[in-house]
């Protein structure tokens, strides 16, 4: 009898232990963690994703980014183009039959992609890629949008850093070899925004420059832009002072033709941030 009572007591205790297991977190995963992982992964693979940050496009498309990697820049191990996982990607996406990317084998992959592109013209090719990786939509953070990306599945995030560089940027460009690549690209981007707005010369007055920025942001929004992106850390420290509008005007006036003094981009970062709300109102 005592044995029966003990077994019943043990069973009840076990029941309460199991049913209350969720109440107290423990500091280590149990031996079940691999099994849970194996159970979760297929369910997670079925969730259609929204890719919130990407730079889709073809390698020969200069608008994939407003920036470019400087020559000979160091790459972390996994982001190098000889990462063997990229071969697994080629296998999964295109049925790549080889285990290396020797020049001869790479030709197969280039030809296969050309074939798939031909079978899926226009926007169909990158839509197909999204389908293959179960991604519903992907943000396209690009300088400009191309006609081969479907705007419905690739919402645009445009770059706003170029508004910080309306000056003579020689000194900043010469600061180091990387800035020698980065800053001219910003100048080029600013010029493209000017072309977009049919502006041939940057305004002399700060207020007019601000109005120009607001117009670009509003037009980009109308063109489908869902956000703007700053990569300010590439150009200057991310600590910002808080200049007044009058100080910003003075900076703009005094440096519009002179060499651009370091850190004065603070004023232009702040005004572009403020301009974004004005642009929303305009749009």
């Amino acid at each position: 009898m005592n044995q029966i009572i003990f077994v019943a007591w043990a069973a009840v205790s076990l029941f309460f232990f199991v049913s209350s297991a969720g109440a107290q977190a423990r500091p280590f995963p149990g031996p079940d963690v691999q099994q849970i992982y194996q159970r979760l992964l297929p369910q997670i693979e079925k969730i259609p994703a929204f890719d919130h940050h990407a730079h889709p496009g073809f390698a020969d498309d200069p608008d994939v980014d407003a920036m470019a990697a400087p020559p000979d820049a160091s790459e972390a191990l996994r982001t190098r183009d000889d990462n063997p996982e990229l071969i697994a990607a080629a296998k999964a996406l295109f049925g790549y039959p080889y285990t290396d990317l020797s020049p001869e084998h790479a030709k197969w992959l280039v030809a296969k992609k050309a074939e798939v592109k031909k079978e899926n013209p226009g926007t169909a090719y990158f839509n197909l890629i999204l389908d293959k990786i179960n991604t519903e939509s992907s943000v396209a953070n690009r300088a400009m949008m191309p006609d081969y990306l479907d705007a419905k599945r690739f919402p645009w995030v445009f770059f706003a850093d170029s508004f910080m560089w309306p000056f003579n940027n020689e000194r900043e460009t010469g600061r180091n070899p990387d800035e020698g690549v980065f800053i001219p690209l910003q100048e080029k981007m600013l010029h493209r925004w000017m072309q977009q707005e049919s502006v041939t010369k940057l305004p002399v007055k700060f207020d007019d420059y601000l109005e120009f920025i607001v117009r670009v942001l509003a037009d980009n929004r109308k063109k489908g832009g869902i956000a703007m992106k700053f990569e300010v850390a590439y150009f200057r420290p991310t600590t910002f002072s808080d200049p007044t509008r009058d100080q910003a005007k003075d900076i703009y006036r005094s440096t519009s033709r002179a060499a651009f003094p370091a850190r004065k981009s603070t004023a232009l970062f702040k005004i572009t941030s403020s301009a974004s709300s004005s642009a929303s109102e305009v749009a």
Binding site: A23, Q24, A25, R26, G30, D32, I36, Y37, L40, Q43, I44, I47, P48, A49, F50, D51, H52, H53, A54, H55, P56, G57, F58, A59, D60, V64, D65, A69, P70, D72, R78, L86, A89, A92, L93, F94, F126, I129, L130, K132, I133, T135, E136, S138, V139, N141, P155, D178, I226, A227, M228, F230, E231, A233, R236, P237, T238, K270, S273, S276
Partner: protein, 159 residues
């Protein structure tokens, strides 16, 4: 507004001067209360500090690049910490980019998506095994990170 907050390309990128925490004064500025900020790349490699910026109502963290710079075993730890802190303020991204004429954005997309899904499953499996959440809740968090959190951000402007 998206802001790049991570290490950057090039050998002259100044890590200490680009610390994500430097942006706190801008993010907390009451004049930008109505601006939504998304910290692209989640401050990597300072993602542990960065997640607390998401305590601000208008600040979100995007995990892109973290899943490429790190292997899934390491990225899992980042995601777990974020999921345990502000799971509704984080978004998935691949940071895909065409490497060259042979390996393009296609392969980069695949690697980013696969790595993120694996790391996410591993992070959630640990959280379940450690009695932090149920499996049902884990899948809700997975939907949030991979899709819903980002879509809510743009209020009908994306599908």
């Amino acid at each position: 507004m998206h802001i790049h907050t991570a290490v950057g390309i090039g050998d002259y990128f100044n890590l200490s001067q680009s610390n994500i925490m430097n942006l706190e004064s801008v993010l907390r500025d009451p004049r930008y209360r109505d601006t939504t900020f998304v910290m692209i790349h989640g401050g990597y490699p300072l993602e542990r500090e960065a997640v607390w910026l998401a305590a601000m109502k208008n600040v979100y963290l995007d995990s892109s690049f973290g899943e490429l710079a790190q292997y899934p075993s390491a990225f899992k730890d980042t995601l777990k910490m974020w999921l345990e802190t502000f799971p509704d303020k984080i978004t998935f991204g691949t940071d895909c980019f065409p490497y060259n004429q042979v390996l393009g954005a296609e392969e980069s997309y695949w690697l980013g998506a696969q790595s993120s899904r694996m790391a996410l499953a591993a992070a959630l499996a640990e959280m379940i095994s450690e009695n932090e959440i149920t499996e049902v809740r884990a899948l809700e968090l997975a939907h949030g990170y991979l899709h819903d959190n980002a879509v809510k951000l743009y209020q009908g402007r994306v599908q």
